[in-house]
């Protein structure tokens, strides 16, 4: 350990760009990226479950607004959604005097709101598809047991839909991680923001951006393996017995 430490210090001493100081920026950036992505995914997931159920409702006045929401948020770039929330709300007359401003003033919350609404829209559609794909047999069996609609949703449909949605949701998590890079556009010092700062300071695009690309790559692989593990564990029963 001691040796490793000494080797690392020496390595850092040799270059002008990756000093302890700039690495600190990358570390803070990592923290901000993880916080932003994690929070928006969790809140987005919580929003998506009821929305997905509503999306499959037979009542038009429930179904259509949800459809409209997912259509708009999936059909337009996240950057526009971020701009609308970050720059747009500022110019609403008198917003600075309301309590909302406490939340909107910082760059973090507008970005969190935009990311959450965006991922909730995609996740809603993923769950909706998974719910629709529930086999009729499962539903009939539940009915035969005399389950109420709510109970059936909770015990039968949702658990099996979640499992089926897992691979697609894993993709959405990776997409969200990558999409979060645009947070740097509204001054958030996320990983990409740190890279842009280091680049502007030293005019060294390769060092600044390749380094951050490597970090994103590691994060992507970590997510990928996490979901593979989850799939293996949760979808084991779907595999052929002798497979």
């Amino acid at each position: 350990m001691e040796q490793l430490n000494a080797w690392f210090t020496e390595l850092l001493a040799d270059n002008a760009i990756f000093t302890a100081n700039t690495l600190g920026y990358y570390l803070d950036g990592l923290g901000n990226t993880v916080r932003l992505v994690f929070l928006s995914l969790v809140i987005g997931l919580l929003l998506a479950v009821p929305l997905a159920i509503a999306r499959g409702s037979r009542r038009k006045w429930i179904k259509w607004p949800v459809f409209f929401y997912t259509y708009v948020f999936r059909g337009t770039p996240l950057l526009i959604q971020l701009y609308m929330i970050y720059y747009g709300v500022v110019f609403i007359e008198g917003i600075q005097d309301t309590i909302l401003w406490v939340v909107l003033k910082d760059a973090f919350f507008p970005a969190l709101i935009a990311f959450t609404l965006n991922t909730a829209a995609y996740t809603t559609e993923i769950f909706h598809g998974a719910i629709k794909a529930t086999s009729r047999g499962e539903i009939e069996a539940a009915r035969a047991y005399g389950m109420s609609r709510g109970l059936m949703m909770r015990r039968i449909i949702l658990p099996s839909a979640f499992r089926r949605a897992l691979p697609a949701y894993g993709n959405e998590v990776i997409f969200m991680l990558h999409a979060s890079a645009i947070a740097s556009v509204v001054t958030i010092m996320d990983l990409t923001g740190a890279a842009r700062f280091v680049y502007a300071r030293f005019y060294a695009p390769f060092d600044a951006f390749l380094f951050v690309a490597a970090i994103y790559l590691c994060l992507t692989f970590a997510i990928l393996y996490l979901f593979r593990y989850l799939e293996k564990k949760l979808l084991a029963h779907l595999k052929p017995i002798n497979g």
């Binding site: 259509y71 708009v72 059909g75 337009t76 770039p77 996240l78 950057l79 526009i80 701009y83 609308m84 720059y87 747009g88 709300v89 500022v90 110019f91 609403i92 991680l177 990558h178 999409a179 979060s180 890079a181 645009i182 740097s184 556009v185 990409t192 890279a195 842009r196 680049y199 695009p205 390769f206 951006f209 390749l210 951050v212 690309a213 994103y216 790559l217 992507t220 692989f221």
Partner: protein, 238 residues
């Protein structure tokens, strides 16, 4: 009608830039995708490895980071090469990686990886019996590709290609970050200058939705065309 405060024409110009970037990068992505798919399906091990490395790396790094890398770093890289040419051979050329080129090349490169996966899956889905039948008829391999393999592959690839195009379209918004005046950048500038929150952003969002809807319709029509002869079969299977 809505009063765009004089920004109307510039917004339209921006929309044109968006469409240009999208279409050109789509073409690049299709070419790269076909090359990647053939490399991945070939028995050549080196080609296979290069293609795998390409798709893995590209899909592991955010689009914006790749774009910044190419826009800011690409020029320095290209210069190192042209400078070397200049000193070695007295060949004096200057290759300009501007925002437009960086945008198109990055987006084309990123989606080339996704297209590669789509094409690979589609090639594998073509029934090998069909190719054998072609050979039995004495068709040349080129003719088999053109008459049998390609049309059938397209049938399997179209839903994936359509999907990739929709994502690509939205990705073009990122070129505004490196300074290209696409409709997103112009809308952002107009918003800041006029202090009108949604006057410019909403029309831009609507244009994106319009292009997406038109493409959806187009993909559905193409799908119908490539499905000719399979319609009845599908009904039978149901």
């Amino acid at each position: 009608m809505i009063d765009l405060q004089g920004y109307g024409p510039r917004l339209l110009e921006g929309a044109l830039v968006t469409v240009e970037v999208a279409v050109l990068s789509l073409l690049l992505a299709l070419v790269l995708g076909l090359l990647t798919a053939s490399a991945k399906l070939s028995r050549h091990r080196l080609l296979h490895r290069i293609a795998t490395l390409y798709t893995t790396l590209i899909r592991g790094v955010p689009d914006l980071v790749l774009m910044l890398l190419l826009f800011f770093g690409g020029q320095m890289g290209v210069n190192a090469i042209t400078d070397w040419l200049y000193y070695q051979f007295d060949v004096d050329i200057f290759i300009n990686i501007n925002e437009f080129v960086a945008g198109v090349v990055t987006i084309g490169f990123i989606f080339g990886a996704y297209m590669g996966e789509t094409f690979r899956g589609a090639f594998l889905a073509v029934d090998s019996g069909q190719l054998e039948a072609g050979r039995a008829y004495g068709m040349s391999s080129r003719l088999i590709f053109r008459r049998i393999q390609f049309p059938q592959m397209m049938r399997h690839a179209l839903p994936g290609l359509g999907n990739n195009w929709m994502v690509l379209l939205k990705t073009t918004a990122l070129v505004s970050v490196i300074g290209l005046s696409d409709m997103v950048r112009i809308a952002a500038e107009a918003t800041k200058a006029t202090h009108e929150p949604f006057l410019f952003m909403i029309p831009v969002a609507v244009i994106y939705l319009l292009i997406a809807s038109v493409s959806e319709w187009g993909v559905a029509r193409l799908q119908k065309r490539y499905n000719v002869g399979f319609g009845e079969a599908d009904e039978w299977n149901n």
